[in-house]
Assembly symmetry: C2
Homo-oligomer: 216 residues x 2
DNA sequence: TTTATTATTGAACGGATGTACAGTAATTGG
DNA sequence: CCAATTACTGTACATCCGTTCAATAATAAA
C-alpha cells in the first residue's frame, strides 16, 4: 500500500511557475475560455488555489506568462526546423512549411488556446505587448527568408527593393495565419496537402515576380 | 419636466430580439468576453434580466443569434458592393476589396466581437453551425469571382480546372481573414493601403497563372 | 367589457469567480 | 541545532454568474 501523498510539496519557484503555465495551457486547450479560472488551473496543477496568487500578482499575469511561453515555443520549433545555410532559399521555405503545417500546430485545441489569447489582447496591455513582440519576430524571420529568395533569384543585381520584402512578409504571415485559423475552425473544408499547396503557390508567385505591386 | 419612463415597455418579440442582439453586440464590442453576460446585455438593452430567458432558451442562443445576424450583415454588405455584370471580372475584385478594407470592417472592435465568437465554436455545435454556413457562403462567392476571372482571361477555352478555383478561393479567403486579423490586433504594423496591395497582388498572381500548383 | 394571452419585471437561488489572509511546513542560513 | 525565510494550504469574503418563477401589466381576442 502506498502512503498518502504529502500535503506540502515544495519545489523551486521557477519550476512551479513552469508547472502552472503548463496546467493553464491544458485548461485552455480543453475548456477554452471556461478554463481560464484560478480554481481549475490550480486543480489541474494539483496545488491549492492560493498558490497562484503567491507566484503571480493575479491570474492575468499567469495567462500572459503562458502566452509568452507558448508563443516562444512555437516560434523556436517552427524556425528551428529551417537550417540557415543548407539548400536553396526556395528549399528552406518548403522545410519551413513542412514544420508549420504539422499536426502539432494544425490542432484545433491549439487554436482554441490562441483564440482566447487574442480575445484578451484588446483589453490587456500586457497581452498586447506579448503579441506585438511575437508577431514582429515572426514577420522578421519571414522577411529574411523572402530576402534570401529574392537575392538568390536575381543573383544580387537589383532584386526587389527592401520595402517589397517587408510587405510581402506581412502578406505571407497573414496567409499562414488565415489558413491555420480556417482549418482549425473546420478541418473538413480542405486538406493539409491543399493548405501546403496554397502556401507553396504563394511563394512561387513571389519568385516569379508576381508581387511587384508590393514595392510601391 | 419629463414624466418617468414606463416600467413595462412592451414591443413585438421580433423587434425585441433584434434589440437584444444589438445590445449583445455592443457589449461584446466594448468589453470582449467580459461583456458576454445576461446582466450586462440586459442593462445595455434597458430591460430586466429575466427577459432574455423569456425570448431565448439561454444566453448561448442569444449569442448564436447575434453571430448569425452580424455574419449575415457583413456578408450582405461586402458582396452587395459588387455589381454582378458591370465592368470586368478583375474590376469586380477591386470593388470587392474597396468594400472589404473599409473602416467598418477593419475595426479592432469588430474583430474583438469576432474573436469571442471563434472562441465559442469548438464547444458549441450551434456556433459551429453558424460559422460553417457563413464560411461556406463566403468561399462560394469568392470561387465565383475567381471562376469569372479565369473565364474572362482564357476566353472560355480551357481555363484552370474547377478544382483550382475551389482551392484558390480558400487561399484568398484565408489571406483576407489573416490580413483582417493581423491589422485589427495591431493597426500600426502596416497600412490599409498596403493591405489592399497585398490582396490585389494575390489576384494578379492568380491571373498570371502563378497558382497553377493549386490544380492538384 | 370581460377574458385570455403573453411580454415584462425583479427577487430569489445555488454555484462559480478572484483575492486576501492567517496558519502550516519545508527549506535555508547561521 | 535554532531561527528566519518562504513555499504552500485552505478557509473566508464579496461579487458576479445564469436560470427560475411568481407577480404584474399591456395587448389581443371574444
Amino acid at each position: 500500500m502506498k502512503q498518502p501523498a504529502r500535503k506540502f510539496n515544495r519545489i523551486q519557484p521557477d519550476l512551479r511557475r513552469e508547472h502552472l503555465v503548463e496546467a493553464a495551457l491544458r485548461c485552455l486547450a480543453d475548456q477554452g475560455h471556461a478554463g481560464l479560472s484560478v480554481r481549475k488551473i490550480a486543480a489541474e496543477a494539483n496545488v491549492s488555489v492560493g498558490l497562484i496568487n503567491h507566484h503571480y500578482d493575479g491570474i492575468d499575469r499567469l495567462i500572459a506568462h503562458a502566452y509568452e511561453t507558448l508563443s516562444q515555443g512555437i516560434f523556436d520549433r517552427v524556425t528551428g526546423a529551417v537550417a540557415p545555410a543548407v539548400g536553396t532559399a526556395r528549399d528552406r521555405f518548403s522545410a519551413f512549411f513542412r514544420e508549420y503545417f504539422s499536426p502539432d500546430i494544425f490542432d484545433p485545441k491549439l487554436l482554441g488556446v490562441w483564440v482566447v489569447f487574442w480575445s484578451l489582447i484588446r483589453h490587456s496591455p500586457e497581452m498586447k505587448a506579448v503579441h506585438d513582440r511575437a508577431n514582429a519576430a515572426f514577420c522578421a524571420v519571414l522577411e529574411g527568408y523572402l530576402s534570401d529568395l529574392a537575392m538568390e533569384r536575381s543573383g544580387g543585381d537589383g532584386g526587389p527593393p527592401p520595402a517589397a520584402a517587408r510587405v510581402a512578409a506581412i502578406g505571407l504571415s497573414a496567409l499562414l495565419d488565415g489558413i491555420w485559423l480556417q482549418w482549425c475552425l473546420n478541418p473538413d473544408t480542405f486538406t493539409i496537402a491543399e493548405a501546403i499547396a496554397i502556401a507553396e503557390s504563394w511563394v512561387d508567385g513571389f519568385v516569379n515576380g508576381g508581387h511587384g505591386r508590393l514595392a510601391g
